[in-house]
């Protein structure tokens, strides 16, 4: 964070030509895998994330099960080729933290009480990393859960807001993350007005924080519409098949 040697904003436009409040091109596909109960592929620009859901099911490790609800098992993993330098496939400390943070971003919306003594497994594979992988992961996981038929109070979508060259910018990519002053990933369940993921890596004034949160909220709303659209399309596709 914050080398500050690279010019990130010029004439109100960012290094890739976007406005400060502009999302990257986002594409969403639901149901991309045959075996998983639910799956989704989400792209934020060059960031590409695959999520798959298995469950509710009975896992091998019985001792983790709970009598009053389903447990959520979540793994966020970056493929070796997803990063600029090859990453070892072994889970890093960062991946362990993000697996927890993403699980806790999904917990509030999953109605886990319906499936006691089962496990709902969320496997996320980052295929290409260009900033915003954790928020794209939440967006994808939420859709994979929906396709798997897991009852949810609402969809969750995520986006990061950054501070670059002193400006707040929506959906920052890796260059902006690396040379910018702050990166604040946010995930929101818009229909519930609940923030389920909130982190900040960098420094903000209290005022900037409020603005950044508002910017994230607007971005999430757009992505949330795309999520609903993707599920509707999936549903129509299924209809056609029938």
């Amino acid at each position: 964070m914050g080398k500050g040697k690279v010019k990130l904003v010029e004439g109100g436009l960012r290094h890739d030509g976007r406005r400060l409040d502009e999302l990257r091109p986002i594409t969403i596909s639901v149901g991309v895998l045959k075996n998983a109960n639910g799956s989704a592929l989400v792209e934020y620009g060059r960031t590409k994330v695959l999520a798959a859901v298995y469950g509710p099911r009975e896992p091998q490790m019985k001792h983790i099960l709970l009598p009053n609800r389903a447990v959520i098992r979540c793994r966020y993993h970056m493929a070796s080729f997803s990063t600029y330098e090859r990453k070892s496939p072994t889970l890093s400390r960062r991946e362990i933290e993000l697996s927890k943070v993403i699980r806790e971003a999904l917990e509030p919306v999953i109605i886990s009480e319906l499936y006691p003594r089962t496990s709902i497994d969320v496997f996320i594979e980052v295929i290409n990393a260009d900033g915003g992988t954790r928020t794209a992961s939440v967006t994808a996981a939420s859709l994979a859960l929906a396709e798997a038929g897991i009852p949810m109070k609402g969809l969750v979508a995520g986006v990061a807001v950054g501070k670059i060259d002193g400006y707040l910018a929506l959906d920052i990519d890796e260059v902006e993350d690396m040379y910018g002053e702050a990166d604040m990933p946010v995930a929101i369940a818009p229909s519930l007005r609940q923030i389920t993921l909130l982190q900040l890596n960098g420094v903000l004034t209290p005022g900037e924080f409020t603005q950044a949160l508002e910017l994230a909220r607007k971005g999430v709303e757009v992505i949330h519409e795309m999520q609903k659209e993707a599920l509707k399309k999936k549903y129509l596709d299924v209809k056609v098949e029938e």
Binding site: M1, G2, I64, L66, R69, A70, V71, I72, R73, C74, R75, R93, R94, I96, E97, S99, K100, V101, I102, R103, E104, E107, P108, S112, A182, M184, I188, A189, L192, R193, Q194, I195, T196, L197, L198, Q199, L200, N201, G202, V203, L204, T205, P206, F209, T210, L213, R217
Partner: protein, 277 residues
């Protein structure tokens, strides 16, 4: 893989109902006010073999932090910076639910939250850690050992890391013609390493109630936690929502303000404690 934990300390339903109804009246089971931090004590230089160290007590929570300074090589992509490494161990002495073994996701999250606060606030100027540019730098190991767990390990650890860094002074080094580096730990630079103070403030949420610095009993009832890293000049240097619940969009300004106020308070307490003793 991260898995939904079982509730670690089951509190009887009756007791939990009582506590929640108390919170409705603005009272906590331990008699504290909603925004009241537990008493903080700091014992300095507890570990002779560490370059600096503190034993911090936050109420009955005890955290031991030791700092070791090692001469090492810089990372290829930051040749003119030293390195700061924060590691947290949940020692099995601390709680009946801690098992020996490598740090679990909770210990890793804690150390990364503390690390990010220090790093992003630039509490330590890493460029001052260079011994021979591009070749030799100081590596700072901040090892946090949780000895007794009575809740809010994050803030206790953050106080520990801050206090230990405030006490840290780099040893004098001599670079011989041969390139050999001789470290003299009995002679240390006058100026302390730290150039900005930062501490996390953790606020717990139970339903619509919020409370600062939750203890273990309260933590067992929390829906979610929110940690804010606060600098001495009133900036936000890190955020982390954790736990199974959510933060309501409209309550965030309140939470952040509470954290900024409490952070200021904790920072003055720590500074006073370190001067005193």
């Amino acid at each position: 893989m991260s898995v939904t934990p079982s509730a670690e300390f089951l509190i009887p339903k009756l007791k939990s109902d009582v506590i929640i109804s108390m919170l409705g009246r603005g009272v906590r089971p331990n008699g504290r006010k909603v925004d009241e931090v537990r008493p903080i004590t700091v014992i300095k230089n507890y570990i002779p073999n560490a370059d600096s160290s503190v034993l911090v007590k936050l109420g009955n929570t005890q955290v031991l932090t030791g700092i070791k300074l090692e001469v090492g090589s810089p990372f290829p992509d930051t040749p003119s910076e030293g390195n700061l490494m924060v590691n947290a161990e949940f020692v099995p002495t601390a709680s009946p639910v801690f098992e020996p073994g490598p740090p679990d996701e909770n210990a890793i999250e804690l150390s990364r939250v503390v690390d990010r606060g220090i790093r992003e606030a630039r509490a330590v100027d890493l460029s001052k850690l260079v011994i021979i540019p591009g070749k030799k730098v100081w590596n700072i190991w901040v090892d946090i050992y949780v000895l007794d767990h009575d809740g809010n390990l994050t803030d206790a650890s953050s106080i520990g890391a801050l206090a230990a860094l405030m006490l840290t002074k780099l040893p004098e080094v001599e670079v011989r013609d041969t390139g050999e580096i001789v470290v003299d730990r009995n002679n240390r630079k006058e100026q302390p390493l730290l150039n900005r103070s930062v501490v996390t403030v953790t606020i717990g949420k139970i339903g619509n109630y919020v409370l600062v610095d939750p203890d273990l009993e309260e933590e067992s009832l929390l829906d979610s936690k929110f940690s804010v890293a606060v600098t001495d000049d009133g900036l936000i240097a890190g955020l982390q929502k954790s736990g199974m619940g959510y933060l309501a969009e409209d309550e965030l300004p309140l939470l952040v303000n509470m954290a900024l106020n409490k952070g200021k308070e904790i920072l003055s307490i720590v500074k006073a404690l370190l001067k005193d003793s």
